[in-house]
């Protein structure tokens, strides 16, 4: 398969089931919502080293937020149920509670699985906190020096998908970066997905384990490193000199597949040789996103 002269490899991205919470942050204006969102989603690229993967899903207009103020929607993902609650409490407590004018709400109202967040953070109020039940949901009002921090007691949690991906194999680093930026721009704001890596792009794709240090759980994906072409079993065509990866997490497989379709299509441009994907032979992750099926619009 070719898209505008870019070869789509016959392969698939292998992804995992993760737990997802959607966090809505509102503030007096978008500046402060964004500040809190950037802090909350900081150092959250991969569960391998960060215990959590998080990213901004999209900005929310006033009409779409619970309190009618500008907001940001964030997805926070972990491998296990218990982890998600811990990470939310840490991150909301350290990055949203602390940020001027913000409030924090659950963005998965219909999810039957609930995890306590405000119920834990309320203790910061040292007994001065108060709760209100509004529309059947409990919210905590925690007194802070600025006024009050409002946080929802419980957040919904659903099973999502982590590790959807595609690789951009390009003739030069500049071409790879331009294609990656185009892909990220195309995916930005797509509902139900986040790109947890810096700017949505990964330059250090990894393989499971390591050849020399047995205790390492991940190490560089040498098959896709151009500088190792002569000394390892390379997966790169002769003309490829740079590879970048787009990693996509989402609330469900359809959202990830849709985002992959948008991203791959945008990445198929001048200077790109082919599009590939990262997988582990299909034995580790239950979600397989076949590139050609996605791009032909048949199925993931």
């Amino acid at each position: 398969m070719n898209i505008r002269g870019v070869f789509i490899e016959e392969t698939f991205a292998e992804a995992f089931t993760m737990r997802v919470a959607r966090v809505l942050i509102t503030a007096r204006n978008i500046r402060w919502a964004r500040e809190a969102a950037l802090k909350l989603t900081g150092f959250a690229t991969s569960v391998i080293g960060c215990k959590v993967e998080a990213g901004i899903e999209r900005e929310l207009p006033k009409a779409e937020t619970p309190d009618g103020r500008p907001g940001i929607s964030i997805l926070v993902m972990t491998m296990g149920k218990d982890d998600l609650g811990k990470r939310l409490i840490e991150r909301v407590g350290q990055t949203v509670l602390t940020c001027p004018t913000t409030a924090c709400y659950d963005g998965l109202a219909g999810a039957p699985d609930r995890v306590g967040v405000g119920s834990a953070l309320r203790f910061f109020g040292d007994g001065f906190q108060a709760s209100k039940v509004i529309g059947g949901e409990r919210f905590w009002r925690i007194p802070v020096m600025e006024g009050e921090f409002l946080v929802q007691e419980k957040f919904g949690m659903v099973k999502g998908v982590g590790g959807g991906n595609f690789l951009i194999l390009a003739r030069s680093a500049d071409s790879a970066l331009a294609a990656a930026e185009a892909a990220v721009d195309a995916i930005a704001g797509h509902p139900g997905v986040i790109l947890p890596f810096p700017g949505g792009v990964v330059r250090s794709g990894s393989k499971v384990g390591a050849r020399r240090i047995k205790t390492m759980i991940a190490s560089t994906n040498d098959a896709f490193c151009p500088t190792l072409r002569a000394v390892t079993q390379s997966a790169l065509p002769e003309t490829v000199n740079s590879v970048l990866e787009i990693v996509i997490n989402g609330t469900d497989a359809d959202a990830v597949a849709d985002a992959m379709r948008l991203g791959i299509d945008a990445a198929c441009r001048e200077g790109v040789v082919s599009i590939s994907a990262g997988n582990y032979g299909g034995k580790l992750g239950p979600h397989h996103f076949h590139l050609r099926r996605i791009m032909s619009g048949t199925t993931a």
Binding site: P66, V133, I134
Partner: protein
């Protein structure tokens, strides 16, 4: 419109005590079953609801009271489920001790809306009681949880002795609001007289009120204005003669 419909066959005797009509499970009962529930008239003599009113429709968790229910007292007392709509005004003690569900009164409500039954230590313990008109004295007295929202004014002693919950009025709130309260919120978007046992704390923008007001506007068509959402509120803590964890939030044009 689906749901049950109750309409007086003739002007109701005054007072007609509707306390037993919607207490306990009712959302699954048929019109015929509901019509057999008792209404106390003539100083306590019970008659069946069906003798006073036509009860029609199919159960779907909602009920409408259409016609003149001003003589009806304790309508929705002990309510724990479902959606109740009173299309006109209603008498005293609507939603007395209600625990859940919602009651929407399109007209006015008498005294003691959402208050406590005689000898009870707690009034309303949950749900939403929304009055588009005005409510007389004692609304939300001893309430423990839930929301009472009034589009017009409220008489004296609103939220007196309240333990928690919220009493909100778009109009004026009479004297002695929140007196003897332990916790809970009185929200005044109109004029309010602050009791001497409340103390001013600060002027700020409580975000939870935005949620509450947006919900009242969206669900009940409450006449919430932009200035109510974006404005500041003077916060008073009280009743300092009691636990002092209650508050009066008074909208201010400052």
């Amino acid at each position: 419109m689906s749901g049950l419909l109750v309409r007086p066959k003739a002007p109701l005797p005054e007072p007609a005590d509707f306390a037993a009509v919607l207490s306990g499970p009712w959302t699954g009962v048929t019109a015929g079953e509901l019509a057999r529930r008792p209404v106390a008239v003539d100083r306590g003599n019970p008659v069946q609801l069906g003798e006073l009113c036509e009860v029609t429709g199919e159960p779907d968790g909602s009920i409408r009271f259409a016609g003149d229910f001003r003589p009806a007292v304790r309508l929705g007392a002990g309510l724990s489920e479902g959606t109740v709509m009173v299309e006109g005004s209603v008498g005293d003690e609507v939603g007395l001790g209600m625990a859940g569900g919602s009651i929407e009164v399109r007209g006015h409500a008498g005294a003691g809306a959402g208050a406590a039954p005689p000898e009870a230590r707690r009034g309303m313990t949950g749900g939403e009681l929304v009055v588009h008109g005005s409510a007389a004295q004692g609304a939300g007295a001893l309430m423990r949880r839930g929301l009472i929202a009034v589009g017009g004014s409220i008489g004296t002693h609103a939220g007196a002795g309240m333990i928690a919950g919220t009493v909100l009025a778009l109009g004026a709130i009479g004297p002695a609001a929140g007196l003897w309260s332990k916790r809970g919120s009185i929200v005044a978007l109109g004029e309010v007289t602050i009791p001497p046992t409340y103390r001013y704390t600060c002027t700020y923008q409580p975000i939870h009120l935005r949620l509450m007001l947006i919900r009242l506007k969206a669900r009940y068509g409450f006449a919430v204005l932009g200035r109510h959402l974006s404005g500041s509120y003077r916060r008073y803590s009280g009743d300092l003669a009691e636990l002092g964890k209650g508050e009066i939030l008074a909208w201010t044009a400052e």
